[in-house]
């Protein structure tokens, strides 16, 4: 036990002191914050007021057109398409000659720099104005009345509640659960890959360096393997905790410096970007966090964090053992590593794919069963849990999943120990999974 501790310490410190660790730990949250900061910065910059000249010869706007936050309208300033740019306008809008109701099109000439978002805003503004006008003309509803109606409507908020499998009614917002589940699942996915691969590389290094032969003269191969797995796991945990601390720090700093409506603009900007949809969904959850603190309270944080830690660690132990076994079978050739690794990386990738589906149907059979099978459970179960325990996830499912996962990592550790002990000293022959299986079940 003492010796295993020595090995754990060595594995941990040798990696934590490395420049790459320090850089990636501190740079990633910085990058994160930086990207958000850049998006925000860009939107702020771009919110210089755009000047639009509106040629309204038929008086649609009745000489009144309010400006938007970032767009200022100028009625009939005496420019045309040839000189609007030179006179400092970003765009020129032609109202139809014969009255707004005419289906004849409105035409907007703009410089290239006039963005999509701005065009959208112009569109909306024009529509609203026309709507107001028509209401006024046809039904004599003044704009003041219209505005007060709108104000009432905007105040309405739908209170989200969910009914779980056992018909329990719960508070809580799916969008938030969605976001958390997604994030949790992805985090575990990434961790498994990064740290699992680290274990494998470490084992391979010891094998090609022949240091394994020397160490195995002082400690049992099992101690070496476990020391490595736990040491590297500790590195992962450290990095992860540091990330959480740093990201929370940066987010709250950002939140303090940047007003909520700018964040909102940034969010809208995001949604216009391709592929922003996925980010949008996460942003959606984050925005909710920023706006409604009540929703936060409905989330069962202790349970989620507790389960996250459990699945994080157990999932890592489950797969790290397998990675160690693969590492021990590989000879000088890194191609070997790729092909041997495949049967292990496949379930992980499958798990994330299942999770992406399961998160929209957290109570489906696929989601349920995948969250119980040890290969997939760390990722899939973590995605389901934010939806509510015991609502979406009954206690027995959670319990069964945990028990199986623990049994799972005990089994993979036992299996890998046998493979490791033989593989670590065998050089020259190319090893296949069939052979490794034989080692595992042969008497030592």
């Amino acid at each position: 036990m003492n010796k295993t501790w020595l090995i754990i310490k060595r594995e941990y410190f040798s990696r934590v002191k490395k420049r790459t660790f320090i850089l990636s730990t501190f740079l990633t949250p910085l990058l994160f914050a930086g990207v958000i900061g850049i998006i925000v910065f860009i939107t702020i910059r771009n919110s210089d007021k755009e000047k639009i000249a509106v040629i309204d010869n038929s008086g649609v706007f009745k000489n009144k057109l309010d400006s938007l936050k970032s767009i200022k309208f100028f009625l009939n300033p005496g420019v045309d398409t040839s000189n609007f740019a030179a006179k400092g306008y970003s765009a020129i809008l032609y109202a139809p000659q014969t009255g707004a109701n005419n289906k004849q099109q409105w035409i907007l000439y703009s410089r290239k720099s006039f963005g999509v978002m701005a065009k959208k805003q112009v569109n909306e503004k024009i529509r609203k104005e026309i709507e107001n006008n028509l209401l006024l003309m046809k039904f004599q509803v003044s704009s003041a009345n219209i505005d007060s109606i709108r104000a009432i409507v905007n105040k309405i908020e739908i209170s989200p509640k969910r009914i779980g499998q056992d018909s329990r009614i719960e508070n809580g917002d799916s969008a938030l659960a969605y976001g958390i589940g997604y994030a949790a699942g992805f985090l575990i996915y990434i961790t498994l890959f990064i740290y699992g691969a680290m274990v494998m590389r470490g084992v391979m290094e010891e094998k090609t360096n022949r240091i394994a032969e020397v160490i195995v003269c002082s400690v049992r191969p099992f101690q070496l393997m476990m020391g490595k797995i736990v040491g590297i796991g500790a590195v992962g945990l450290t990095q992860f905790i540091l990330w959480i601390i740093l990201i929370t720090l940066f987010s709250s700093l950002l939140g303090a410096f940047i007003p909520a409506d700018v964040l909102l603009q940034a969010q809208q900007a995001n949604s216009a970007l391709p592929g922003g949809q996925m980010a949008m969904q996460n942003n959606e959850a984050l925005m909710q966090l920023v706006r409604t603190k009540q929703t936060l309270a409905t989330v069962n944080w202790p349970l989620i964090i507790g389960c996250f830690i459990f699945y994080f660690i157990s999932g890592y132990l489950f797969y790290a053992a397998l990675f160690a076994a693969v590492g021990s079978a590989v000879n000088e050739d890194p191609q070997d590593a790729q092909s041997l690794m495949f049967p292990i990386t496949m379930p992980i990738v499958l798990a994330i794919i299942i999770m992406i589906n399961a998160i929209t149907h957290p109570e489906s059979a696929l989601a349920t069963w995948s969250s119980i099978i040890p290969f997939f459970s760390p990722i899939v179960m973590m995605a389901r849990i934010p939806f509510g325990v015991p609502g979406t996830v009954p206690w027995w499912q959670l319990g069964l999943s945990m028990v199986l996962l623990v049994a799972g990592f005990l089994f993979t550790t036992w299996l890998s120990a046998k493979i490791y002990r033989t593989g670590i000293l065998l050089y020259g022959k190319k090893i296949t999974w069939k052979e490794m299986w034989k080692w595992a079940f042969r008497k030592s």
């Binding site: 010891e206 360096n209 003269c217 002082s218 000293l425």
Partner: protein, 310 residues
């Protein structure tokens, strides 16, 4: 009581018997040579003695008791044939780490590393990384790491490969010193001249079987062919034909003769003395281990065949 006794060891791999019923015993303080061609089973044998592999049959008795890998391993030092070190770890740190794994306390390990580094002129290496060392230097380091914890049994697999004569000598001196202090040393090598210089007892294995076992002198005697070398002042032009011996070869100032069955050395000397030749020197030519090795092993097809890696 022998330090190490090995009885009827067998280790079977899927395709062959790497070690096929080998037994021997080693007295404490001896320097023991383990010889054999590649693929003979030496490394497997050594790994069983260090507890890395478990024998399929047979037993190992260490210091009079049944060999228990976990405990006894702390009194054994093993230097594998290929360098086994963490490339990117600092040297001082690594030596201390490995010593701690052998059971030394941190302070003890530090003190010992310092002692050995000073003795072998390695003080400047403390903060360097292993990848900065040349092969020979790495070997020296490996040797130090092997003996640091003062093991009772030291196993060296090709310890001199890659060393220049100065460093090789340094290590040899250290080996002698250790043997004098009572350490037992098992030396596995192909370099017969080194074996002849250092070892007391040798065993020769081939294809998992033991071919020779005994003290150096014993074995050479076993294989001697009664060759003797006589050195003269000048070329002997006296009568050299005699029933007592046959001439094997002539040199400028000497002869190599084979004494025939039933005749003694004295007769040979008398033959020349009677003729008045001045004899400068007379000694028996024992076969070199090289010769013995080739004689025993070279003729077997296996030694020349491609041995599959295990």
């Amino acid at each position: 009581m022998p330090l190490l006794e090995v009885r009827h060891l067998v280790k079977q791999y899927a395709t062959q018997r790497a070690v096929d019923d080998i037994s021997f015993s080693i007295e404490p303080g001896a320097i023991f040579g383990l010889l054999g061609p590649n693929g003979a089973g030496k490394t497997t044998l050594l790994r069983m003695i260090t507890g890395i592999f478990y024998p399929d049959e047979g037993e190992i008795i260490f210091q009079g008791k049944k060999f228990k890998p976990e405990e006894d391993i702390l009194r054994i030092g093993y230097m594998p044939e290929e360098r086994g070190l963490y490339k990117k770890m600092k040297i001082g740190e690594q030596a201390i780490y490995l010593a701690q794994l052998k059971g030394l306390s941190k302070q003890m390990a530090f003190a010992k590393v310092k002692e050995w580094f000073t003795r072998l002129e390695m003080q400047t290496w403390w903060n360097k990384k292993v990848e900065d060392l040349s092969k020979g230097m790495a070997q020296k380091l490996q040797f130090v790491i092997t003996v640091l914890h003062e093991p009772k049994l030291i196993i060296l697999d090709e310890p001199f490969s890659g060393l220049d004569p100065v460093n090789a000598n340094l290590i040899k001196e250290e080996i002698y010193k250790l043997a004098k202090k009572g350490c037992t040393i098992i030396f596995s090598t192909h370099r017969m001249e080194q074996v002849e210089e250092i070892c007391d007892q040798i065993i020769l294995v081939n294809k998992g079987r033991k071919l020779l076992d005994g003290s150096l002198h014993q074995i050479k005697s076993e294989f001697k062919e009664n060759f003797f070398h006589i050195g003269f002042d000048h070329h002997p032009d006296v009568e050299t034909v005699s029933g007592v011996f046959d001439i094997v070869s002539t040199e400028e100032q000497g002869l190599v003769v084979k004494i025939n069955e039933g005749h003694t050395t004295n007769e040979v000397l008398q033959h020349f003395i009677r003729q008045g030749t001045l004899i400068k020197e007379f000694h028996e030519i024992l076969p070199s281990l090289d010769d013995i090795f080739i004689r025993l092993v070279g003729k077997t097809a296996a030694a020349r065949q491609f041995q599959p890696a295990q």
